[in-house]
Subunit: 277 residues, 2 copies
C-alpha cells in the first residue's frame, strides 16, 4: 500500500508473556534485544530471573492482565493451555489486545482461543519451527508459521510478525489445519523417533557412520524438550495418530522383510530365528 | 622400528577386486589415483567400465586368480560371500596372497575365510565405515576398522592399510566381534530407521525443523544402499537381532506413554483412542 504513514511502520510493543518456561524465555531474549518492553507471568515464580533481565514479573494473573499489554503471548505447554485460559479473567484487560500463541500444534489453540477470548481481542496463531537448541545461533533461514485468525489492528499484528521477519525467519502463512497435517508428518515423527532412540539409550560409538551421528543428534535435541511438549504434539494434533500407525506398519514391514531374508539364507535356522520375535 | 629399510615403506600393490559393484568401484577409484594396479572380476560384466578406467577385467574367476595379485579384495555383497568363495579354485593362485574383505559385518567373513582360504594366505578383515555417499568429498576423518587375522607379510599388509591412512582415515584396530557389537548398535540401527522412513515415504515439508531434515538425510542415504547390504547387516550380525528387539520394546514403551497421556487428558475419548491402535 502506497498510503502507509510513519505510524504503520513496525514499532516497539508492550508484550506480556504467559508461561516463562524454556521457550518463553528464549523468545523474550530476542524481543528485549529488539527494544520491546516485556512483562511475564507463569505458574512458577520467575521474579528473580525477570528482575535480572528487566522484565516485570507478575505472580498473579489478574495483575498481569491489568498491566496494559498490547500483545499477550501464550507460551504455556500444549497440555496446560486450556487450564491456563480458564484461570484468566478477561475483564481485567484494559484495552483490546492481540493474543498470540506459539504452541507446536495449531488447530487446538485456535479452537480453544476462539471460544474463550473476548470478541474485541485479535488472534494470531503461530508456530516458530525452532527452539532454544536449533535457534541458538540466530534465527536466519528458520521457519515461522502463522495464521491471522482475527486481526483488526494490522499495525500491532505486523509489528509482532516483524520480530521474526527482521531476524531473517522464513515466514510461512498457512492455515492451522495445513500446519497440523504437515507437522505430524515431520515434527511429531522426528520427536517420536528421538524418544524411541532416547528410550534405547543410544550413544556414540568409536565406529560411528555419518548417518548414525545424525540419529544421535536427533535424539539429543528431542530429549532436551519436555515430555509435555512431545505428548502435546500427539494428544492435540489429530493427524499424529495416523503417523504413529504409519510408523508401526512400516516397521512391521521392514521386520518381515528381514525375517524373510533370514529364512531364505539360513533355512536350517528358521525355527530358532522366528522364535526370537 | 628403527631398522626399517626402503623396502618396508608403503609401496604400490597389485590388487585384484572381486565384486565390482558400487563399493568396489568406489574403492578402485582412489586406489588407481594412488598408483596401485588393479584387476577385477564380478558376477556381472564390467569389461567396458574397466577398460575405460585402466583396469583388467576378468570374466572368469580362474583367469582372475591366476593373474598374480598380491592382494585380493573381497567387495561382494554380504549375502553372496559364501557362494563366491565356493566358486574360487584357490589352487590357481600363483603366490601367497593377502585376502582382504570389506564386508559391513565382520565375524561372518572372518569365519568363512578362515575356513576356506589356503593356509599360506594372509587375512585382513576390514570395514571402511563410509561409502560412495558419505565419502564422496574425500575420506579425511572417516573411520576405517580392521583386524589383522593372520599376517605374515607385514609390508604388503601395511602398504594396503596405508591406502586409507594416507587419505586421512581414522584407523581403528579392533576385533571382529567388538565391531559387530558396536555396528549393530549404530550402523544397523541407522539403516533400519532409514528403511522404515523409506517405507513411510517421508518427504520434505515447507515447515521442516532441523531435526526432521536430518531424518530425511538418513532416509536418503540408506535408501541408496542395496537391500542386500541392509539385510546382510541383519542376517550375518548376531548382535543385530537384539537391536531390532530393543527398538521394538522402546517403540512400544513410547506408544504406551502417549496413550496414557491421551487417556489422562481426554478421559471421555479414551475408548475411541484405544480402538485406533
Ligand atoms: N521448545 C521449543 O523448541 C518450542 C518451539 C516452538 C514452540 N514451542 C511451544 O512453546 C510452548 C512452551 O514450550 P517449552 O519448551 O517452554 O516447554 P513446555 O513443557 O511445552 O511448556 C512449559 C511451560 O508451560 C507451563 N506449564 C506447564 N504445565 C502447566 C500447568 N499445569 N499450568 C500452568 N502452566 C503450565 C510452564 O510453566 P512454569 O515454567 O511456570 O512451570 C512453562 O512455562 C509449548 O506450547 C511448545 O509447544 C516450543
Ligand atoms: N556401500 C557402502 O557404503 C559400503 C561401505 C562399506 C562396506 N561395504 C561392503 O561392500 C560390499 C559391497 O557393497 P555394495 O555397496 O557394492 O553393494 P552390495 O549389494 O552389498 O554388493 C554388491 C556386490 O555384490 C555382488 N553380488 C551380489 N550378489 C551376488 C551373487 N549372488 N554372486 C556373486 N556376486 C554377487 C555384486 O556383483 P555384480 O555387481 O557383479 O552383480 C556386486 O559386486 C558389501 O559387502 C558391503 O557390506 C559397502
Amino acid at each position: 500500500m502506497s498510503s502507509s504513514t510513519a505510524s504503520d511502520l513496525p514499532r516497539a510493543l508492550k508484550i506480556g508473556i504467559i508461561g516463562f518456561g524454556p521457550f518463553g524465555q528464549f523468545l523474550a531474549e530476542t524481543m528485549l534485544r529488539q527494544g520491546h518492553s516485556i512483562t511475564a507471568t507463569s505458574r512458577s515464580d520467575y521474579s528473580r530471573q525477570c528482575a535480572h533481565l528487566g522484565i516485570s514479573f507478575f505472580r498473579d494473573m489478574d495483575g498481569f492482565l491489568k498491566s496494559g499489554n498490547e500483545v499477550i503471548l501464550l507460551c504455556t505447554s500444549i497440555l496446560s493451555l486450556s487450564e491456563v485460559i480458564q484461570s484468566m479473567k478477561f475483564e481485567c484487560l484494559k484495552q483490546p489486545t492481540l493474543f498470540v500463541d506459539v504452541l507446536s500444534v495449531k488447530e487446538y489453540p485456535k479452537h480453544v482461543l476462539m471460544q474463550a477470548l473476548p470478541p474485541e481481542s485479535d488472534l494470531l496463531c503461530t508456530h516458530p519451527m525452532f527452539g532454544p537448541e536449533s535457534g541458538k545461533n540466530g534465527w536466519r533461514g528458520l521457519r515461522f508459521m502463522y495464521e491471522k485468525i482475527r486481526i483488526r489492528d494490522e499495525v500491532i499484528c505486523s509489528s509482532f510478525l516483524y520480530i521474526f521477519e527482521s531476524e531473517g525467519c522464513k515466514m510461512l502463512e498457512m492455515t492451522c489445519e495445513e500446519h497440523d497435517e504437515l507437522a505430524a508428518r515431520s515434527q511429531f515423527l522426528t520427536h517420536m523417533v528421538g524418544r524411541v532412540l532416547t528410550e534405547m539409550q543410544i550413544e556414540q560409538t568409536p565406529i560411528d557412520t555419518k548417518g548414525f551421528q545424525k540419529l544421535v543428534e536427533v535424539k539429543d535435541s528431542t530429549a532436551k524438550d519436555s515430555f509435555d511438549l512431545f505428548s502435546g504434539l500427539f494428544v492435540h494434533n489429530r493427524f499424529a495418530k495416523q503417523q504413529l500407525k504409519n510408523f508401526e506398519t512400516a516397521f512391521d514391514k521392514v521386520k518381515q522383510e528381514l525375517q524373510q531374508k533370514t529364512n531364505e539364507t539360513e533355512p536350517q535356522q528358521m525355527t530358532r530365528s522366528l522364535s526370537k520375535f
